[in-house]
Symmetry: C2
Subunit: 249 residues, 2 copies
DNA sequence: TTCCATTCCGTAGATCGTACGGTAATGTTT
DNA sequence: AAACATTACCGTACGATCTACGGAATGGAA
């Protein structure tokens, strides 16, 4: 797992929050800018995965020497921070409807976001980049949950629980598709390659509940469908449970 | 994010499911065994993180040349698969109580597991190693959810939703502690380093809900506490929601 | 004793991030 | 116009890392 939040704090915060500032006019005119570097890095990661997001490849995508990047960004860790916040800023979070509709809107937006940027799943979210994207999301969800009337401590925990579930479920969903493009092998083919498992290794007596569920048609046709199904059902259950808490206060 | 399930299928399945087989007696006597390699790799990752789990370091921990490992394991990807399944096999899943007690038992066990092996968070769970650990977990949860009386398709989706949430929440919890030991910097110090943010950058007017929640005491004292709080509340809400579904069938 | 299946491992090539120091290009000053 | 200050560009090199290759070592079998 890639870790973010490891660079020099002040410098990273400056890069995250700086407005488009005017150049002093002095010195050599830049061929690239920070924004273009982040954009190129995101494009590489979207296309070929986070492992392929190397300084070499980002520089090549910009038609620039590798070491040029270090003029604009302190290092790869900081670049990752900027990529994450740039992605989060893509969320279109406009309040509409009751708190539940707003959370569901957030969930859909996040699902789409991970679909566009499946590499997000591979970045640690402890010690996240303290940028505009993170705070916009947090403010939106806290504002939505305020509509439940829950006390502040519970509302805050509910937001964190929602974020945890939605990020994980959306990430898993997106990762299925990414695994197919990166490996060049469809999930169906991946399972076909492991057909021997069911034929020669799996012991129905050892796993009766799995066998029973199989016989009862409990398994979705594809792994991606199962993930989507779990996302939908899980979010509904989670929000139902949170709604039930409001009647106790 | 590290990816598993990338190696030769038949070979990996053989390694995952092989019983302790007898040696033929011919050839040079081995200094190491597959089991010891996996054990050492897990120990290195526990101690120093997944990034530090290099073939060099694992071999060194065993007092053996790096290339010796490749006699016993096809490559690093397969070793990772074996590590993950070995970890999952540590779960002590004995059915006791009703379905809800069983799921809560699973959640506690998983939380402890991630605490012992925080690197688990960094391994992709799409295309997982099809080993005994995974199937034991799945069978346990499907068996528990059978107690709800939900139809098979919904029970299966509920299991996936629970796994998604519990893995994410437990992983986040464990990652807090790991971040402290790996970086040598406590979470409190990390925030102190970013104090400037609140003093110079954060704009209360731009994020009213965050500011309001702050004033209402909505934030936990520490990030780790917030994560634990979210885990507890989220699991309760999720299970309440699932329980509510059973009354409709 | 000879053979040989099996394990051990040194070397080397490719791919990373990035420290270092030099080069190039512009506006400003003289 | 010439020199300077400032900024951006980037070639080289070093240390990790995974692993392909092939040879050396070992000890039972023939």
């Amino acid at each position: 797992m890639e870790h973010s939040g490891t660079g020099d704090p002040r410098e990273t915060l400056r890069l995250l929050w700086r407005e488009n500032q005017v150049r002093s006019g002095r010195g050599r005119p830049p061929k690239v800018s920070l924004a273009k570097i982040v954009e190129a890095a995101v494009a590489v990661a979207d296309q070929d995965g986070l492992d392929a997001m190397t300084m070499d490849k980002v520089a090549a995508a910009l038609g620039v020497g590798t070491m040029t990047l270090y003029t604009h960004v302190p290092g790869k860790a900081e670049l990752l921070d900027l990529m994450v916040d740039a992605a989060w800023r893509e969320l279109d979070l406009v309040p509409a409807g009751d708190w539940r509709a707003q959370v569901e809107h957030y969930a859909r937006q996040t699902s789409n976001l991970h679909e566009r940027h499946p590499w997000l799943r591979g970045v640690s979210t402890v010690r996240p980049p303290l940028g505009p994207g993170l705070f916009a999301r947090q403010d939106f969800l806290l504002s939505a949950l305020a509509g439940t009337g829950l006390p502040a401590a519970q509302a805050s925990a509910a937001v964190d629980a929602i974020v945890t579930f939605v990020e994980a479920a959306a990430g898993a969903q997106a990762e299925h598709r990414q695994a197919e493009t990166l490996s060049g092998q469809s999930t169906a083919d991946w399972w076909t390659d492991r057909q021997v498992f069911w034929e020669e290794i799996f012991d129905p007596d050892r796993y009766p509940a799995i066998t029973q569920s199989w016989q009862d048609g409990g398994f979705d046709r594809t792994a991606a469908q199962a993930t989507t199904h779990a996302f939908t059902l899980g979010l509904k259950a989670l929000l139902d449970g949170i709604a039930a808490m409001t009647s106790q206060h």
